[in-house]
């Protein structure tokens, strides 16, 4: 789960990391008042869960409260890479002397947290890693010991930070690790961490990603989820306990198991080419009971781009004949005239197919293999698209 800049920085502040004490605004009027209260100049920053907002015109320096209001008016409602800006952060402007990077993430291969610093702040760390890897200093952290003081010094030394800033930098690094750990983050990043002309270190921009698996013990953070920033189908799916990701294609996919769900998406893309592809990732989990299939079907069909539906179910412990009955029951509950292809594999797959075929539902067909199923679903979607074009 991603946190907005303001949420991340306010969280940093709770752990003693210096930030500019800004205010959020949801209307131009609020932006005006925030700017007047804080004292100009201020920076008006779009709060949106995607990178590249600066280039899109989502960050502006305002010299007066009136200007802050004007910029907020332009930025609020702005569409940045498909996401609508609903909030701006009004921050006092800083006199920047130098920008550095400081971030903590989990190193999968090492199985440990890794803290990274770079002398090139304000640039994405991945880009620095590709273009100038020597600019990055790294320390792996023993999760039982935490970040040790000498490791923070190693980072400061590694990025050639002037000695006068070491103490402040070490304190920020230690506090960032405490924040990372206490928040169950998979990423806690200050970029840039600036040295001001007044010789202060300040977290100017921040980003945190919280481990979805840990939200059960982070109710306070779980509440910060911005459901406006995600498709409504994803919010519904989460409530129904279904793992769903909305994509841009036309074939609604309903699958049990995450790996098989990805594979099913890949197959629709393989046979669909540039035009046709998956409308979603969806894992209904084990069992495939009628109620869950119905809930998943409602979510898939809420996406108006969907032109055909592909079921791909491996009947492992749940037998395919039971799965087939569950699907038919769900179709009864959620009627749709879209073409649907069902592929069942595993225990009693032939019985399952017979149940589907004998139901004699005109828009429903079965397939024996994944290849056949994907091709059928692609063909149905292609026909529907062609018919739509013809009608125009």
């Amino acid at each position: 789960m991603n946190l907005h800049e303001y949420q991340s920085k306010f969280r940093f502040a709770e752990f003693g990391i210096p930030i500019l004490k800004g205010k959020t605004a949801g209307t131009p009027q609020e932006a005006y008042e925030a700017a007047r209260e804080l004292g100009c100049p201020v920076v008006v920053k779009a709060q949106v869960l995607v990178g590249g907002r600066g280039k899109a015109g989502g960050v502006k320096v305002a010299k007066t409260p009136e200007q802050a209001e004007e910029y907020a008016n332009a930025i609020l409602g702005m569409n940045i890479k498909g996401l609508t800006v609903r909030k701006v952060l009004i921050d006092p402007a800083a006199n920047i002397a130098q920008e550095i990077y400081l971030g903590i993430t989990n190193d999968r291969a090492a199985g440990r947290p890794v803290i990274m610093a770079s002398s090139e702040g304000g640039v994405e760390i991945e880009q620095v890693a590709r273009e100038n890897p020597d600019a990055i200093a790294r320390e792996h952290i023993d999760p039982f010991l935490g970040l040790l003081d000498y490791q923070a010094r190693n980072l400061a030394s590694g990025i050639n930070l002037p000695h006068e800033h070491w103490r402040a930098f070490s304190r920020i690094a230690t506090n960032l690790y405490r924040c990372y750990l206490s928040s169950d983050s998979v990423l806690a990043e200050i970029n840039p961490l600036v040295i001001t002309k007044e010789n202060q270190l300040i977290a100017l921009d921040g980003k945190m990603i919280i481990d979805d698996s840990a939200l059960f013990r982070q109710p306070h953070l779980a509440e910060m989820r911005d459901t406006d920033a995600e498709p409504k189908e994803e919010t519904q799916a989460r409530a129904a306990g279904i793992s769903y990701v909305k994509l841009n294609g036309q074939i609604g996919c309903m699958v049990n198991g995450a790996g098989l769900a990805m594979t099913t998406m890949d197959m629709t893309k393989l046979y669909g080419g540039d035009e046709i592809g998956p409308a979603n990732f969806l894992d209904i989990g084990g069992g495939a009971q009628a109620s869950k299939v119905a809930a998943a079907l409602r979510i898939i069909l809420a996406d108006t781009n969907v032109k055909s539906v592909l079921f791909n179910i491996f009947g492992g412990i749940t037998r395919c004949d039971e799965v087939a009955r569950g699907i038919l029951e769900a179709l009864n509950e959620v009627p749709s005239s879209l073409p649907m292809v069902i592929r069942l594999v595993g225990t009693n797959s032939e019985e399952g197919r017979a149940i589907i075929d004998n139901a004699n539902i005109p828009n429903l067909s079965s397939a024996a293999t994944l290849t056949e199923a994907a091709k059928k679903a692609v063909e149905a979607a292609r026909k529907a698209l062609a018919a739509e074009k013809g009608a125009q």
């Binding site: 481990d211 790996g259 594999v345 293999t369």
Partner: protein, 285 residues
């Protein structure tokens, strides 16, 4: 001979009285696994499917000589179950549980690095050594004894491939699900090494997915160390970057962990890579 399990395997089930634990205990016994008991704190003295339940792993080990454990314990309690198994001297621990916080797994991983136990998983379907043992949740009928070793990050996608192999008349030595989490106990490379050393395994199937670089490490290992032919499938070619696809570990981060980079690394290592999992049996011929 299979890898990881053999005739000396003595299995206990942690969380044996729970719904999942009890259901799969029955399935594992019916498959013929040498399941000697289980553990649920507070339920010591009870019996599940004819097997004794103990309050602690230590007591279960003392009474039954267990050397392997399977964990069906809910995510908030699963790390504790792993530590308990390690400290009781269990040598092979398989953890099915999905949704353990990453920070807890980093601690587990650190603890394991200084102990003599191996963890498979978490968030995995476990192991199936056809004809010998089933430890986990894989449906037993999908496999048949033979000479193919299968290692995978997935559940149902693995069943799909194993079932296709069985139907094509190609049996398996062992099918290992290593799990779809970012931090797991045993990675591809370690299982590949076991398959390379196992005299009965002649061919290997690797099933990976987007996220991390375990498949790239596997490719480097295969290129440098493996003499046996390997076929592979990587799921998630059509997945968008920055979005988690079901498994906690299945995410392209900062442009890294794409299916394309993994496929290229595997092809470069001489691995036969399938576009479609249904091609796997043909690629092994």
């Amino acid at each position: 001979m299979a890898i990881l399990v053999n005739q000396d395997t003595r299995l206990i089930v942690q969380g044996i009285t729970g719904r999942e634990g009890s259901f799969h205990t029955k399935q594992m016994i019916e498959y013929g696994t040498n399941l000697v008991g289980g553990v649920t704190p507070g339920k010591g003295g009870e019996w599940v499917h004819g097997k004794p339940v103990f309050d602690t792993v230590k007591k279960a080990v003392d009474a039954t000589g267990a050397n392997t454990s399977i964990i069906y314990v809910a995510a908030p309690y699963a790390p504790d179950a792993i530590y308990e198994a390690v400290d009781a001297g269990i040598k092979l621990i398989v953890c099915i549980t999905e949704g353990i916080p990453i920070i807890e797994m980093m601690k587990v991983s650190e603890y394991l690095s200084s102990h003599d136990s191996r963890l498979i998983g978490p968030n995995c379907p476990g192991l199936l050594a056809p004809g010998i043992a089933k430890i986990g949740i894989m449906p037993g009928y999908i496999g048949t004894p033979g000479n193919v070793g299968v290692v995978s990050k997935s559940g149902t996608l693995t069943y799909e491939v194993v079932y296709a192999l069985t139907q094509a008349g190609m049996g398996q030595t062992t099918c290992v699900g290593i799990g779809g989490d970012p931090i797991i106990g045993t990675n591809f490379v370690e299982i590949l090494q076991m398959f390379e050393e196992d005299p009965e395994t002649e061919k290997v199937v690797l099933i990976g997915e987007i996220g991390g670089r375990a498949e790239v490490d596997a490719a480097e290992f295969i290129k440098a160390n493996m003499t046996k032919p390997v076929a592979a499938f990587i799921a998630g070619k059509s997945a968008p970057p920055g979005t988690r696809m079901g498994h906690a570990g299945a995410i392209i981060e900062g442009g890294e962990g794409t299916a394309t980079e993994k496929i290229e690394a595997l092809l470069e290592a001489g691995v036969r890579v399938a576009d479609n999992p249904e091609q796997i049996p043909a690629l092994l011929k």
